[in-house]
């Protein structure tokens, strides 16, 4: 099912655009050029963060962390190996990308841990960053319950990601 989604999206967009006589190949190109700019900014960030993340694993710290959090995580059905990702996700998007990529590379992209990490990354956001951007733009300091509610949503995401992967990929 999901194998159809992307090819059909590509086909649908091109047929729709041609039907309206739009020169959509130029849009693809200019968008692609913007994407290259994104790669340029993400490269130094990933170099720095993967250095730190690899140090964290090589030193044995990530194993200690997951062992320390294992009792609580196992009870919730979240793989303890994902502890680091859960901690970093709300704080920094690129650090989460680095940690998640490291988990996928280390345990395998199609392993339970690799898939759980991917679903966690895909279904949550950098909560603290988003909060500061939106409340900053609005000029509001009294944020009331927004942070606890947003962090609760993250927690539900981490929990559901683990359960959904366990259920859909037995």
């Amino acid at each position: 099912m999901t194998d159809y989604l992307i090819p059909l999206l590509l086909l649908g967009l091109s047929v729709f655009a041609l039907g309206r006589r739009e020169n959509y190949y130029d849009w693809l190109l200019s968008g692609g050029a913007e994407g290259l700019g994104l790669v340029k900014t993400i490269l130094p960030t990933l170099v720095l963060l993967l250095t730190a993340v690899d140090m964290f694993r090589a030193s044995g710290a990530s194993e200690l962390l997951s062992r320390a959090l294992a009792p609580a995580f196992s009870r919730l059905g979240i793989p303890p190996e994902c502890a680091m990702l859960v901690l970093v996700r709300p704080i920094s998007g690129s650090a989460a990308l680095a940690v998640g990529g490291e988990l996928m590379a280390h345990y395998g992209v199609n392993s339970r841990i690799g898939r759980t990490a991917a679903v966690m990354l895909g279904s949550t956001e950098t909560t603290f960053y988003t909060l500061s951007v939106y409340f900053g733009a609005a000029g509001i300091h009294k944020t009331r319950y927004a942070l606890p509610a947003a962090l609760f949503a993250d927690f539900v995401g981490f929990f559901t990601a683990s359960r959904a992967v366990g259920f859909l990929f037995p």
Partner: protein, 191 residues
């Protein structure tokens, strides 16, 4: 500033840990390996990122976000009653939600900030329930196609990078739904 702390904490803990377990040699090897893997990962992500940025541009230019916004309007007015009286607010709210939904993160932020400003003008100083809902919706991230994660998976050699989509949809819906429910409940508690 946050990142300086994240970096310092990661490196600090690693050094202490490696010193205690006597694995400082492995640690210094990891420094160079990590840096190289950063380049490898970015380069292998580049193709999918560029392609997806192009597709995103096409969806934006074709007005797909605007079409989706019309579909979502009835539900949106229930979640944000103020949008019923303020059409500019309704427009920026729906642009924000739809761009998020289509995975166009960069296109979602400007209208989101505009919506936040308009909501804040209705209740200055203290965040209104609607503004809190907007923020929770944005942090919960409902995405149809999480292209970055799929790019990451395929860069690591996954041949079916999109097979996680149903799991992502279930998870986003649960976290957004329960996050909004928590916001509603906390809003009533605090009153």
């Amino acid at each position: 500033m946050v990142m300086s702390w994240v970096w310092a904490v990661l490196v600090g803990i690693s050094v202490i840990c490696a010193a205690v377990t006597g694995n400082i040699r492995g640690l210094s090897g990891a420094v160079m390996q990590g840096a190289q893997r950063g380049v490898t990962l970015s380069i292998s992500l580049a193709g999918s990122l560029c392609l997806w940025a192009g597709i995103g541009k096409v969806m934006e230019k074709l007005g797909l976000t605007a079409g989706l916004a019309r579909l979502l309007r009835p539900g949106m007015v229930r979640l944000f009653p103020a949008a019923a009286e303020d059409s500019a607010l309704a427009a920026s709210l729906s642009a924000n939600i739809c761009a998020n939904f289509l995975g166009l993160g960069n296109a979602a932020t400007p209208p989101g900030m505009e919506a936040a400003r308009r909501l804040a003008a209705r209740s200055p100083q203290i965040a209104s329930d609607e503004l809190c809902r907007l923020v929770v919706l944005n942090t919960a991230s409902i995405q149809l196609i999480p292209a970055n994660v799929a790019a990451l998976r395929s860069s690591l050699g996954c041949s079916t990078p999109f097979d996680i989509l149903p799991a992502v949809w279930i998870t986003s819906l649960c976290s957004a739904g329960l996050g909004l429910a928590a916001a509603w409940w906390l809003g009533r508690m605090g009153r």
